[in-house]
């Protein structure tokens, strides 16, 4: 049955590989809790937020509890 399915999908095997790109992109967004089209963060300090950066810049300097 798998062989039949493979033969059936054979004409679009390159498209099958191509599909992995958007699906992989989705998986990457999901595992890193990213919004794929970008989020609303405007802070230059945390635009690349995966690693905590040094302090400084923007409103974040003010009103720490």
């Amino acid at each position: 049955m798998l062989e039949q399915l493979w033969n059936f999908l054979r004409p679009v095997r390159l498209y099958a590989l191509l599909l992995l790109l958007p699906l992989g992109w989705f998986a990457w967004g999901a595992t890193t809790s990213r919004r794929l089209l970008g989020d609303d963060n405007e802070s230059t300090e945390t635009l690349n937020a995966s690693s905590p950066g040094h302090r400084g810049g923007g409103h974040a300097r003010f009103y720490h509890k």
């Binding site: 054979r10 963060n41 409103h59 974040a60 003010f62 509890k65």
Partner: protein, 440 residues
């Protein structure tokens, strides 16, 4: 018996009755009509009597003959063959003028002693052979005329009469006698059924699409020398069509997988409300008019790195609010910022209620590390109206549906492109016909 059989000569020669040029012909027993390559006289010679000149094509500009000259040998459908004649035909329009010219190469297959024709129109090739049967046409006089054979429906594509414009080579029938014939073409790509009829008889032919590279291979021509294709041939198969079922299945599987992944993501980390607070904007009398005092939300804890959705609702009444917001990590000082401009206006005009803008806004911050956070608000609104209140709600692990829909659309891009290609292919095919669905 074979010892006494006379082998059929491969070729013979005859002299043109007009110019005396020696013409080599190959269907020694079958050919009776000839068009001289030198003076273009068209004559009949059956070997018994004197050649009879029937006409001349010298006043016509000949078509490009370099591709398959008379005498060219090749192998068509596994059979050795030779180009023995060429006819340029044209469709006779209702106004008596000629339109849509095409070429028909007469291909002689000596082993089987039969013929095929290679027709080419706008770079699209078909091999035509006698069908050796007749077909029943349903609704024959209408634009919905069709033939149903073995589960295939052949739709009417063209009805016409043709005229010979130019010819060269040998023929086993009087090509000028075709003037009285009426042709009807029925298509089910890659096959066409051609009905040829006059008052006395009806003959059917079957034409199959053949790719230019196959013709080039059959006669050992460089593929690059083949005439360029223009548009879509009458029976040119749609390359996309064959891939549609597999494409549909694969796209369906991918979309299903995407949906499953989204559902699993939501179940793994369901959206959690970390903060829900009502904050009142208070004017800062020491600052410029409209400036509010900085508002600080209660602290909340994010247990793991996640995206945060911050929903804001302001009790605005015919005013605007500019609201810079900072999310501050109380342990590391790391900050995230965004600004929302919220405005809402409403009223009654000519008895009709109207409103403009919205009281709500939201923002998504991605990859917020685990930690303890609070929000700072720096409100600025127009001076005068009552200071608004802000309802803020912070949700961890919101369902990022935008991710889902972006990828969903990406997955549909290629199938959509193929669908458009397919539709365009059929549209172009039927653009050349008077019987297409578009012309209905």
């Amino acid at each position: 018996m074979s010892d006494t059989a006379t082998p059929r000569p491969e070729s013979a020669q005859l002299a043109c009755p007009e110019c005396g040029t020696l013409i080599t012909y190959y269907d020694v027993e079958g050919s009776e009509y000839y068009a001289c390559p030198s003076c273009h006289a068209y004559f009949k010679y059956s070997g018994e009597s004197k050649p009879k000149v029937l006409g001349n094509y010298k006043s016509v500009l000949p078509p490009e003959l370099g591709l398959l000259p008379i005498g060219t040998t090749g192998t068509l459908a596994g059979q050795p063959c030779r180009v023995v004649g060429l006819v340029e035909r044209a469709e006779l329009a209702r106004n008596g003028k000629l339109q849509y010219r095409w070429l028909e190469y007469q291909i002689y297959q000596p082993v089987t002693d039969d013929y095929a024709q290679l027709a080419v129109f706008k770079g699209h090739w078909t091999v035509i052979r006698p069908a050796k049967q007749t077909f029943k046409v349903k609704s024959p006089s209408t634009r919905h005329a069709r033939i149903e054979v073995s589960g295939e429906t052949y739709k009417i594509y063209n009805r016409y009469q043709s005229r010979v414009v130019w010819a060269v080579g040998e023929f086993d029938w009087n090509i000028e006698g075709d003037d009285q014939l009426r042709f009807a073409e029925y298509i089910s790509p890659p096959t066409m059924l051609i009905q040829e009829r006059n008052k006395d008889r009806e003959t059917w032919y079957r034409a199959e699409h053949i790719e230019p590279r196959a013709v080039a291979a059959a006669f050992k021509i460089k593929p690059g020398d083949m005439p360029a294709q223009d548009g879509v041939g009458a029976v040119q198969p749609d390359a996309v069509r064959a891939t549609i079922p597999a494409l549909t299945l694969l796209t369906g599987l991918a979309l299903g997988l995407l949906l499953l992944a989204q559902v699993l993501l939501i179940n793994r980390h369901p959206p959690t409300t970390l903060l829900s607070e009502n904050l009142q904007v208070v004017a800062d009398t020491a600052a410029a008019p409209g400036t509010g005092r900085v508002l600080v939300s209660p602290s909340f804890t994010l247990g793991h790195q996640a995206a945060l959705e911050i929903d804001l609702t302001a009790t605005l009444s015919n005013q605007w609010l500019e609201l810079p917001v900072s999310l501050v990590n109380e342990q590391t000082g790391q900050g995230f910022e965004f600004t929302k401009n919220i405005e809402f206006y409403s009223g009654v005009e000519s008895g009709e209620n109207w409103s403009e803008g919205s009281r709500d806004a939201d923002a998504v911050l991605a990859q917020v590390p685990a930690g303890r956070y609070h929000l700072n608000f720096y409100p600025f609104t127009e001076a005068g109206p009552a200071a608004p209140a802000i309802v803020v709600r912070v949700v961890a692990d919101p369902a990022l549906w935008s991710n889902f829909f972006v990828v969903f659309c990406l997955l549909l891009l290629y199938p959509l492109y193929q669908y458009i290609r397919r539709a365009s292919h059929e549209t172009q095919r039927w653009n050349e016909s008077d019987y297409g669905p578009i012309n209905a």
